[in-house]
């Protein structure tokens, strides 16, 4: 941290009306925690909402769980830095994988009645792979929860002027109170509420921002004339984002690195996301969860990236020479960073009243991310580590208690990792590193395991470990400067390499080890699962063409292609 903006420059000028709007939001957040608690009587209620929620609720929660601090602040920062290519994180980097999860993979997850993604690993590949997956997932969640917590606290810090550590602790306590009380239901219902508040905050900001720069055409003119140039206005080929000068390599990096390996790894195997679908009340609803989530996912870039781009040309501290310096990798003369984009824009444009809603939206998004991390962490820890290896065969209410205690412990750990997160300049870079370590090899193992019955338990864990090791190796090489890949290129290459190594190693190990007997793989592998157990019902609350996952997925796909052609 060389130069930082003086706190006073970022202090939002909130008045009593803004605080009242904020207070009302927090009241409802805690209220939802209490109301959800009355429905928690078993551990399944606590960890998976008793598998009872409608698809639109789980679908919005699916998106909101990912729309945390890192996403909103990080993506508006990327918008200010790279412009429209940032939309790839939403379109090519999320939507195809979400559709794939709903159509292809959900029948196995939901149909096999596993309670978590690592539990699927246990049934398919046995204990070693299960432990590798369970422990790495739990570790990643605590780290990411810390990053979310840090951003949440830094906004509270800016707003109220409290010392950072006080903000961290208070913010953590609020999230803890409702997740420990109401479990996944409280987290999911709050995620739905948070989604609405985030949109209520960002949509007006986007509209005012566009007015400020003279509409879309004004934004186009100003961004083209500024540092970064006109290529920031079209999503392809995105050279600045990937760091590849060559157009072909850049497109390849986006399609294979981001679109295939990183995004499929994240969206299809990350329990934070899959858990929301497992809470759905039927197979059809579970399949529709990620597909319904894909509709808002297509549109979120417009209310996250455009404010970032506006900030890059309209906010004094970020425009002109400041943006040029930041793009060159130097500190800006003003001391601002791209991560400040959204806050600076709110400070410049929003009057009291709307300002309160915007602050509520930001805090909502930060809490959504952290609560999602906590609620998935406590499930994996309790079911996959505690119940499977440490304390078996206890009564159900014992595990319910463990879940609540683990939530408290995880919060304390997240407070610790919040301080790790504070040392990284671009939070998205940090997050991408974590993803490539854990997620890319995971997808390779899952997809092989679901469709290739011969794949052996040993291949499962050896493939995972060598894939993860490859990602770490690429990370070390790029960080130490041995292999120079600017922008997000390092993460893409790391993920791609991890994926390929995982596949190669898995195939090689399978050739020399013994597979699981076929009768233990029913419901877990495509060719051994009877067709009727993969099927969803089409009657009652699952009836109607508008509840057909395949058709919905087709509509999403068409919209995605159209958006990619326009931008």
């Amino acid at each position: 941290m060389v130069t930082v903006l003086a706190d006073a420059d970022l202090r939002l000028n909130a008045n009593v009306v803004d605080y009242m709007l904020l207070a009302m939001y927090f009241l409802l957040v805690i209220g939802i925690g209490y109301m959800a608690r009355r429905r928690v009587s078993t551990s399944l209620d606590f960890f998976l909402s008793g598998r009872s929620l409608p698809a639109w609720v789980t679908g919005l929660a699916f998106i909101s769980a990912n729309l945390g601090a890192i996403e909103v602040m990080g993506m508006s920062a990327n918008g200010a830095e790279y412009g429209m290519p940032t939309a790839h994180y939403f379109w090519i980097g999320a939507v195809p994988a979400m559709l794939f999860l709903g159509i292809v993979m959900m029948p196995f997850y939901y149909g096999s009645k596993v309670r978590s993604v690592p539990e699927f690993m246990l049934r398919r590949f046995g204990k070693t792979a299960h432990l590798v997956n369970g422990i790495s997932f739990a570790t990643a969640q605590v780290l990411i929860a810390g990053a979310n917590l840090f951003l949440l606290a830094s906004v509270v810090n800016l707003l109220l002027g409290w010392p950072l550590w006080v903000s961290v602790v208070v913010a953590a306590m609020i999230v803890l109170s409702y997740t420990a009380l109401g479990g996944l239901s409280a987290a999911i219902y709050n995620e739905v509420l948070q989604f609405v508040v985030i949109v209520a905050a960002l949509l007006p900001l986007t509209i005012v921002g566009l007015y400020k720069v003279g509409g879309w055409q004004g934004l186009v003119d100003k961004v083209s004339a500024g540092p970064g140039g006109p290529e920031q206005l079209s999503s392809w080929p995105g050279n600045q984002l990937t760091g590849f000068e060559n157009n072909f390599l850049s497109v390849l990096g986006l399609v294979f690195g981001l679109g295939f390996v990183l995004s499929f790894g994240y969206w299809t195997t990350n329990f934070v996301e899959v858990q929301r679908a497992l809470a759905a009340k039927s197979m059809s609803a579970a399949q529709r969860t990620p597909i319904i989530g894909a509709f808002p996912k297509l549109l979120i870039p417009f209310i996250v990236i455009i404010p970032g781009m506006v900030a890059g040309v309209a906010v004094t501290e970020l425009q002109g020479e400041n943006k040029a310096a930041l793009l060159a990798g130097d500190p800006a003369p003003s001391g601002a960073t791209f991560n400040n984009a959204l806050l600076l824009l709110m400070r410049d444009l929003l009057p009291n009243g709307m300002l309160g809603v915007a602050i509520a939206g930001l805090l909502a998004s930060f809490m959504a991310g952290m609560a999602a991390n906590l609620s998935s962490f406590n499930t994996v820890f309790t079911y996959d580590i505690w119940q499977t290896y440490l304390r078996r065969n206890r009564p159900d209410d014992y595990y319910l208690r463990v879940g609540r205690v683990v939530t408290v412990i995880a919060t304390v750990l997240a407070i610790g990792t919040a301080f790790i997160a504070s040392t990284y300049a671009n939070l998205m870079d940090y997050l991408q590193q974590l993803f490539s370590f854990f997620n890319a090899p995971l997808f390779a193992t899952f997809i092989l395991g679901m469709f290739w019955r011969r794949m052996t338990p040993a291949a499962g864990w050896v493939g995972l470990v060598s894939g993860t090791a490859t990602a770490v190796l690429v990370f070390v090489l790029t960080e130490s400067g041995v292999w120079v890949l600017p922008g997000q290129g390092g993460a893409f290459v790391g993920a791609g390499a991890a994926f390929v190594v995982d596949i190669v190693v898995s195939v090689a190990v399978t050739a020399v080890t013994a597979p699981k007997p076929a009768d233990q793989l029913v419901g877990l592998v495509w060719s051994l699962t009877p067709k009727e157990s993969r099927q969803r019902s089409t009657t009652g609350e699952d009836a109607g063409w508008y509840r057909n996952p395949g058709l919905l997925a087709g509509i999403v796909l068409v919209i995605t292609i159209v958006l990619n052609i326009i931008f």
Binding site: V17, L28, I32, A200, P204, Y211, D348, G353, M354
Partner: protein, 78 residues
């Protein structure tokens, strides 16, 4: 609200959303009509964003309320 068949007290997230966004909408509209000084409106590029966002939120709140009333939660009957 009918509670004859309910096993647990009905809790409908749609009504919570309608409540929050409805209150936000009313507060912002009042702010926009009476308490947003011209200097603030100039800062927001001449848009009275409190008023417009407030009206929009009232509409959203009404929509969620209608949805919750027209398609009430059905709890499992057993």
């Amino acid at each position: 609200m009918t509670t004859k068949r309910s096993r647990v007290a009905a809790f409908d997230i749609r009504l919570v959303i309608a409540l929050l966004i409805g209150v936000y909408g009313v507060v912002l509209t009042v702010m926009g009509v009476a308490f947003t000084p011209d200097s603030e409106i100039d800062r927001s590029a001449g848009v009275n964003i409190n008023l417009w966002a407030g009206l929009g939120m009232i509409l959203v709140s009404v929509a969620f309320t209608l949805w919750a009333v027209l398609r009430p939660l059905r709890l499992p009957e057993d």
